[in-house]
């Protein structure tokens, strides 16, 4: 049961790490005493987070999305505040028309985050670039069988 769980945890690592160290990780589990199994499982769980967050390049994508989200939020808040000011202004004789600057803001809100996300994606080359650096050889047989 623990071994199956351990193999599953190895599987959850980025492909490059799994291919490079997967067999050794399993060998260590087989060699180590059963008393250490729980600690090993926990350590491997932390390793999954570390590998995906810091080593695989996923953080770049997360950063791109955060940047785009922040951009949309800023423009949205700006839009809201500006529209509030327009409505509070003394009513003119002519019917109210939206400030043409709002259209510019709308364009920025639509295009800028898209350009940022697209540029970052191109740089990162999702998903082909993931783990490109360390991929070696084929997937081990014991992993492809599962």
């Amino acid at each position: 049961m623990r071994r199956t769980l351990y193999i599953a945890l190895i599987w959850l690592h980025p492909a490059a790490f799994r291919r490079q160290f997967g067999e050794e990780l399993l060998w260590i589990f087989d060699e180590a005493a059963t008393t250490e199994a729980t600690g090993m499982l926990l350590d491997l769980l932390v390793s999954i987070l570390r590998q995906w967050l810091f080593r695989s390049g996923l953080w770049k994508v997360a950063l791109a999305f955060s940047g785009a989200f922040l951009e949309i939020m800023c423009v949205g808040i700006g839009w809201f505040l500006m529209s509030q000011n327009v409505r509070r202004a003394p009513a003119p004789q002519a019917p109210w028309r939206p400030d043409p600057r709002l259209n510019d803001l709308a364009s920025i809100a639509l295009w800028l985050p898209g350009i940022i996300a697209l540029t970052t994606f191109t740089l990162v080359r999702w998903p082909a670039n993931f783990n490109r650096r360390r991929v070696r050889g084929k997937e081990p047989r014991w992993l492809t069988k599962a």
Binding site: Q20, F21, W27, I28, M40, V46, S47, I48, Q51, R133
Partner: protein
């Protein structure tokens, strides 16, 4: 450049002889008298980092009868000099700490 405790332990374990992953884990446990336990995930994460930096490299198994899943690792020249620099830095820290901890004259401990 300071080394993390796990990295330092791995480099020290490999300084004496070439070892496989499990051998490194056991050696780290022995060196630290069981105080520092290195899990397999932490070990290979650090090994991967060290290999990328050129401080550790894979080497051939000492005998042909080894389990093929075992892979051996050894320190490179860069790894050895990084370890020496870190040890010198730590010695310096210990020396300063001893001076700071020495009781001042006239002050009872």
């Amino acid at each position: 450049m300071t080394l993390s405790p796990a990295t330092l332990h791995i480099l020290v374990a490999l300084a004496g002889e070439d070892r496989h992953g499990y051998g490194i884990m056991l050696e780290v446990k022995r060196q630290s008298e069981g105080q520092f336990k290195l899990g397999p995930g932490t070990l290979y994460d650090n090994l991967q980092k060290l290999m990328e930096r050129g401080m550790v490299e894979e080497t051939k198994a000492p005998s042909q009868n080894e389990d093929p899943r075992r892979r051996y690792y050894r320190l490179t020249r860069l790894g050895r000099s990084a370890l020496s620099a870190e040890i010198a830095r730590l010695e310096n820290v210990v020396r300063r700490a001893k001076v700071q901890l020495r009781p001042a004259p006239g002050r009872s401990s």
